[in-house]
Amino acid sequence: MSLSKEQKAALYRNLVRADQYNRMMYRRMMQGKLIGFYHPAEGAIAPGVAACTFLNQDDNLSPHHRGHGIIHMMSKGIDIKYYLAEHTGKDTGCCQGRSAFHFSFPEHKVYMMSGFIGYNFAPAVGWGLAAKRRGQGQVVMNCSGDGSYGQGRAHEAMLMAQNWKLPIIFFCENNGMSIFSTAGEMHPTPDIASMALAYDMPSVICDGQDVFDVAEAVLPAIERARRGEGPTFVEAKTLRFNEHDIGTPDLAGWEERGEQEHQEMRKREPVALATERVLAEGVFTQEQIDGLNEEAEKEIAAVEEFADNSDIARPPESELLADVFAP
């Protein structure tokens, strides 16, 4: 499958935005301007952009927790300001400032977050089921890390998706790490995609540093799901440039990941790789790229302003208690 110029442009633009969003979140966490924790996405922004840029508003999305879903959500067209407000404890937050880091945009079919790794698999079955019954070609983009496939929930969801031919993309963002553990130690084969063999589910592996390569892998899977032909496993091999979450050391097992590993990784920085390509292919000029960067800066400044200018959410306990159940 080859991408159109428009598609490449859209991907590149979102890649630039994703990169800046991630930097903003990193900076704010370091500044003490975020609640809870942040799992930085540097080096790993291409998969989410490619998986989500061409989704429709009524497709279901379960964003990966890395980058706290911002990459995925902004690529799907969700206004991030409500999530940043949430993450700063503000009353304009998408969860009324109650949730710390959970996201929720039901009108965009991004329903939820839970702190349990692998939480996405069970509800994805229900979303897929609803989409299939509706029969309008909606798909479920189910994004999570290599580590999450350790959970038995992953098996159950893939089993049922394949039994029922549900329109689910099992999108595995394999950065080779879960916290300090390496995928080499925690999964017995080189590819998490080997799990798809269990169900005779089609699978494809792509280069997660190359946003275009990921898009070329994921778009046919989306089309296949839309046509009602069932689930696909898509594995994007990616990298984690930073520590797992800000504040934890950057270890593999129990030893520092070395300078050399970092240098090797950074040779495959996704924005640099994509920039080279869009320039070479004439998708954008350098000037246009500068423009995209400026636009993204402005967008993010506005998002931060919204969050910072909102009030801290401190409703009285009685008000909260009245909100535990739907009326």
């Binding site: 998408c94 329903y111 349990f116 069970a122 609803a130 159950e156 049922m160 159940f325 739907a326």
Partner: protein, 320 residues
């Protein structure tokens, strides 16, 4: 009025709600073939999409309900035996209970969770344990349990129509209990207790199979001790006002609960009455519960679990 069994009352609730609302569906294991009679024959009317059987994969199965509820459907998820809900407990307790509130109270989650529970089959702990107390410990989930066919039909209908997650197990010990139900559509609202028998000397709060035990004891004691029997029907929300009103009259309370003493619903009731009704009490609130041991199967079950003898003894003790 017709006379039907409790399990058939649940089935009628299913049938009527499935007919009334296209978004209602059942999901579980072997519902089509019907492990328990309340799903028997439903697949013939409603088809395999609405009477949906899954692999033995409780997380995926529950997920089918959870995700579908987020998509606007109204699933009833049947765990067969209550203990099996523990296999996917992070989903059906924490994630379910927090979904609405923690995500800003924007989107409700209309899931009904049901299963058979309770002692009487001699099947031992994992097949006999109660689940209402555990779920009542986790905020954001309504919890109720019917004691009569009338309540069963009305409460299951209320649960299916409720926009919140509702855990509503039914007790295997009274599945064949018969009772009258009207022909018209009705619901029994969740959160409203029911005075099942009036009395003056002592109030007994009991539910489900234990409610039936309590009624028997009340009858036996008639003339000697006048026992008011209240069925909480719902544990969350719990209608404490009805109990406090009764205590104005009786000043004595026995709470019967087929769950463990430690951390069970009976403890919560006792603590709340302590706080809200201390001055009404002529004697300490007394509980009849499962002792703090895994429910044994075999011949021990019947004397370890709450039973009429234990209830009678507790009544006599608080009235002494």
């Amino acid at each position: 009025m017709r006379t039907i069994t409790l399990i058939d009352a649940i089935k009628e609730a299913y049938q009527e709600e499935l007919r009334r609302d296209d978004s209602v569906f059942l999901v579980g294991q072997d519902l089509r073939g019907a492990i328990f009679p309340h799903t028997k024959g439903l697949v013939e009317e409603f088809g395999t999409e609405r009477i949906l059987d899954t692999p033995i994969a409780e997380s995926g199965m529950y997920g089918a309900a959870f995700g579908a509820a987020q998509e606007g459907m109204r699933p009833v998820v049947d765990f067969m035996f209550g203990g099996f809900s523990y296999v996917t407990f992070s989903e059906c307790s924490v994630t379910t209970g927090q979904y609405y509130f923690l995500h800003g109270s924007q989107q409700s989650l209309p899931i009904v969770i049901t299963a058979g529970v309770g002692t009487g089959q001699r099947l031992a702990n994992d097949h006999a344990m109660s689940i209402h107390g555990t779920f009542a410990h986790h905020p954001g989930i309504k919890v109720a349990m019917p004691s009569t066919p009338y309540d069963a039909k009305g409460m299951f209908k209320a649960a299916i129509r409720d926009d919140n997650p509702v855990v509503i197990p039914w007790h295997m010990g009274i599945m064949m209990l018969k009772g009258e139900i009207p022909d018209e559509d009705y619901v029994v609202p969740l959160g409203v207790a029911d005075v099942k028998r009036e009395g003056d000397d002592v109030t007994v709060l009991a539910n489900s199979m234990q409610l039936q035990h309590a009624l028997k004891v009340a009858e036996k004691l008639e003339g000697e001790i006048s026992v008011e029997v209240i069925d909480p029907r719902s544990f969350v929300p719990f209608d404490i006002d009805t109990v406090l009103q009764s205590l104005e009259k009786t000043n004595r309370l026995v709470v019967v609960d087929e769950d463990w003493e430690s951390g069970g619903f009976a403890a919560t009731v006792s603590a709340r009455i302590m706080e809200q009704g201390f001055d009404l009490l002529d004697a300490p609130v007394t509980r009849v519960t499962l002792p703090n041991m895994p429910v044994p199967g075999g011949y021990m079950e019947e004397y370890v679990a709450p039973n009429p003898e234990k209830i009678e003894a507790a009544i006599r003790a608080v009235c002494a």
